[in-house]
C-alpha cells in the first residue's frame, strides 16, 4: 500500500532547517513585541533584546566561517568592533539633522562595508594559512584592532574632521564633538538601535547565509572544507572561496557591531576583546557547526542565561559553566547521542507510518 503523502515543501528535506530558523526569529519577535506593548517585559529583559540580536547576527556570520568554511576564526569580535565604531562615528557626524531611521540604516551599511574591507585585508594573509595557524593569526589581528581603536581619537567641529593616534587633546573649535576618545571609546552616542531593526538584520543575515550555502559558491566552500586537494582538482579556487566566506562573515559581524554600538550611549573598545570572540565561538560550537538554527537558539539561551541567573549572585557563572558542559555532553557524547538517536527513531517510525513511507 503506497500512499505517498507529500510533505509540504517547506518542511521537507533541505528546506526544513531554514523554515525553522525563520519561524523561531519571527515568532519570538511577535511574542516579544506584544509583551513589550502590554508592559509584560521587565526593563532588564528589554535592554537585552538588541544585544541578543547583535550576537545572533555575528554568530551566524561566524558559523559560516567556522562551520561551513571550516576555518577557526578567533577574531570575530574585532570585526564587530570595526563595525560598531564606524557606525558610531558616522551617526555622530551626521548628527540629529538626519532622521534616526535613515541614520541607523546608513550606519549599519557603513559598519558592514568597513568591516568587510577589514575582513578582506586581514583575509589576504590569514587565508594562506591553515588550521591552528589561522586561529592564532585571527586572534592576533583581533588584539591589534582593539589596540588601534583604544588609541584612536576622532572628533568633528565646524572645520571638519580631526583625527589622531597620539594626541589625546585633539583641539576642537567651539561646538565640536569628540566621537572617539581613546580608551574611553565613544560617548554621547544617540541610541537609535531598535529591536525591530535587530530582527530585520537577523532575517537578512539568514537569507544571505542560506542563499549562499545552497548555491554554487556554498558547495565550493564546503568542498574546500571537506577536501582541499579534491576541491582544487575539480577547478575550485580555494583562496577565493575561503575569502568569500570570510568576507561575508566579517560583513555580518560589522553590521551586528553597528547595531550594538548604536544601542548604547557609551561604548568602550575593550568590549570587543578576545573574550567576546570566544563567546561567539562558544555559541557557534554549542549550536552546532554549520547549523544556523542551533546557533540562534544557543546564542539566545547563552546570552540570556547569565542575566537571568543574576539573582544567584556568585553562583551564576558556576551554573553557566555547568550548563555549557552539559550542552557539550548532550551534543557530543557518543552514548547520549546513540540514546537520543534511538528515541528519535522510535518517534520517526511512528511518524514514518503516518507518512505512508512503509508499505
Amino acid at each position: 500500500m503506497k500512499t505517498k503523502m507529500k510533505m509540504p515543501a517547506l518542511l521537507s528535506g533541505k528546506y526544513r532547517g531554514r523554515t525553522v530558523s525563520y519561524s523561531i526569529v519571527l515568532v519570538s519577535w511577535l511574542i516579544l513585541e506584544v509583551m513589550m506593548h502590554t508592559g509584560n517585559l521587565s526593563s532588564l529583559f528589554t535592554s537585552l533584546l538588541v544585544p541578543v540580536c547583535c550576537y545572533v547576527v555575528a554568530a551566524i556570520g561566524l558559523n559560516l566561517n567556522v562551520g561551513i568554511s571550516g576555518e577557526l576564526n578567533l577574531g570575530q569580535a574585532c570585526f564587530m568592533s570595526v563595525g560598531a565604531f564606524t557606525a558610531v562615528c558616522l551617526s555622530g557626524s551626521l548628527g540629529p539633522a538626519v532622521p534616526s531611521l535613515a541614520r541607523l540604516i546608513l550606519s549599519i551599511v557603513a559598519g558592514a562595508l568597513v568591516a568587510t574591507v577589514f575582513g578582506i585585508l586581514i583575509g589576504i594573509p590569514v587565508l594562506k594559512l591553515e588550521g591552528d595557524y589561522l586561529a592564532i593569526v585571527t586572534l592576533a589581528f583581533g588584539q591589534i584592532v582593539k589596540s588601534l581603536i583604544t588609541n584612536m581619537y576622532f572628533g568633528i567641529d565646524s572645520n571638519g574632521f580631526h583625527f589622531s593616534f597620539v594626541d589625546n587633546n585633539v583641539s576642537l573649535a567651539a561646538g565640536g564633538k569628540m566621537l572617539l576618545n581613546g580608551p574611553m571609546g565613544a560617548t554621547g552616542t544617540d541610541r537609535i538601535s531598535t529591536f525591530t531593526a535587530g530582527i530585520i538584520l537577523i532575517i537578512l543575515s539568514l537569507i544571505v547565509v542560506y542563499h549562499l550555502i545552497y548555491s554554487r559558491s556554498g558547495r565550493a566552500i564546503m568542498a574546500a572544507r571537506d577536501n582541499r586537494i579534491a576541491a582544487e582538482s575539480v577547478g575550485i579556487a580555494i583562496f577565493k572561496t575561503k575569502m568569500l566566506a570570510f568576507g561575508v562573515s566579517s560583513c555580518l559581524a560589522g553590521a551586528a557591531g553597528a547595531l550594538y554600538g548604536l544601542n548604547y550611549s557609551t561604548l568602550v573598545p575593550a568590549k570587543f576583546d578576545f573574550n567576546t570572540s570566544i563567546l561567539l565561538l562558544v555559541y557557534v560550537v554549542l549550536g552546532g557547526l554549520g547549523n544556523m538554527t542551533g546557533t540562534i537558539i544557543a546564542t539566545i539561551v547563552l546570552v540570556l542565561l547569565p542575566e537571568l541567573l543574576r539573582s544567584m549572585q556568585d553562583y551564576r557563572m558556576l551554573i553557566y559553566a555547568i550548563v555549557l558542559i552539559l550542552i557539550m555532553l548532550l551534543t557530543n557524547n557518543e552514548t547520549i547521542r546513540v540514546w537520543g538517536q534511538k528515541l528519535k527513531n522510535r518517534f520517526m517510525t511512528k511518524g514514518g507510518a503516518a507518512h505512508g513511507r512503509e508499505s
Partner: protein, 257 residues
C-alpha cells in the same frame, strides 16, 4: 599511431626531484584523442607522482607537458582542470560532508557559473543555471547507477559506489583527459568487469581520453590501447598490450630475475 588522431597530451623528458631523490626521470609519452592508455609499474615506480605532475599538484623539475598543444608550465591545479584535465584519487577523496548529488554538482563549478551575488539575490540567472546543474548532475548519477543514493551523504556510500561517484564528479568538469588512479583497487572480479565496461562507456559517451594507473592486469590488458611501463621512475617500455606482455624487461621488473 593513426595519423588523423590529434594528441591531447604530450609529455617529453618529464622529471621531478624530491631533495636528492629523483622520483621520475625522462618520461616521454602521448595520449591521443579518444584513447585509453595505461600507466603501470611496480609499487613505488612513480606512477601517482606522474599524475600529480600532470595535474600540477607537483611542479615538474624537468621536461615539458603540452596539453592540447599548449605548454602548461605556468598553470596551477585549478587551471589544469579548467583546461580539461580531471582525475580521481588512489585513496578516494570525496566531499564527505556533502550529499552524493552535491559532490557531482561541485564538478560543474568551473563549467556552469554564476556569481555569489546572483545566488544571494536569487536572480533568474541563478535559477536557470542551478536547474541546468541539477539536470546534468542527475544524468551523470544515472549513468553511474547512483540515482537512488543521490541525497545520501557521500561518506556513507559503500566503497565501489564511492569510486563511481569520484569518476562522475571528475566527468562533471567536462574533461578532455581523465586520469584514473587505480580505479579497480579493492574491487572484486565482477565489479572490475563492470568497471571496464564503464570506462569504455565514459570514453565513448563523454568523448574523453583516459590515462589510467592500475595493478589489475586483466583490466589493463583488456581495455588499454597502449601501455607505458614505469620502474624506479624511469620509463621501462611502451607499446600495445601484446608488446608489453612479451617484453622481457617488463617481466623481469615484475617477477624479478
Amino acid at each position: 599511431m593513426e595519423e588523423n588522431r590529434k594528441p591531447v597530451l604530450q609529455v617529453s623528458e618529464l622529471g621531478i626531484d624530491f631533495g636528492g631523490l629523483s622520483a621520475v626521470n625522462g618520461l616521454n609519452m602521448e595520449v591521443y584523442e579518444g584513447e585509453i592508455v595505461g600507466l603501470i609499474g611496480p609499487n613505488g615506480a612513480g606512477k601517482t607522482t606522474v599524475f600529480n605532475m600532470l595535474t600540477k599538484v607537483y611542479q615538474p623539475t624537468r621536461g615539458t607537458i603540452f596539453f592540447d598543444g599548449v605548454d602548461t608550465a605556468k598553470k596551477t591545479v585549478v587551471d589544469m582542470n579548467h583546461a580539461g584535465v580531471a582525475r580521481t584519487f588512489q585513496n578516494i577523496r570525496l566531499f564527505g560532508g556533502l550529499s552524493v548529488i552535491d559532490n557531482v554538482k561541485t564538478g560543474f563549478h568551473g563549467r556552469i557559473t554564476y556569481s555569489p551575488l546572483s545566488a544571494v539575490l536569487r536572480l533568474p540567472v541563478y535559477r536557470a543555471k542551478e536547474r541546468e546543474i541539477e539536470e546534468r548532475s542527475r544524468e551523470l548519477l544515472e549513468v553511474f547507477g547512483l540515482t537512488e543514493e543521490a541525497d545520501q551523504l557521500a561518506s556513507n556510500l559503500p566503497y565501489g559506489a564511492q569510486r563511481r561517484l569520484e569518476i562522475a564528479r571528475a566527468l562533471a568538469t567536462e574533461p578532455r583527459l581523465l586520469l584514473l588512479d587505480e580505479p579497480a583497487a579493492g574491487m572484486n572480479p565482477q565489479e572490475t568487469e563492470e568497471l571496464m565496461a564503464m570506462i569504455r562507456l565514459v570514453r565513448d559517451r563523454f568523448h574523453t581520453s583516459i590515462l589510467l594507473i592500475e595493478h589489475d592486469m586483466k583490466l589493463v590488458m583488456g581495455i588499454c590501447e597502449r601501455i607505458t611501463v614505469l620502474n624506479y621512475g624511469m620509463m621501462l617500455a611502451q607499446g600495445t598490450p601484446e608488446e608489453i606482455q612479451a617484453n622481457p624487461e617488463v617481466i623481469k621488473a615484475y617477477l624479478g630475475d
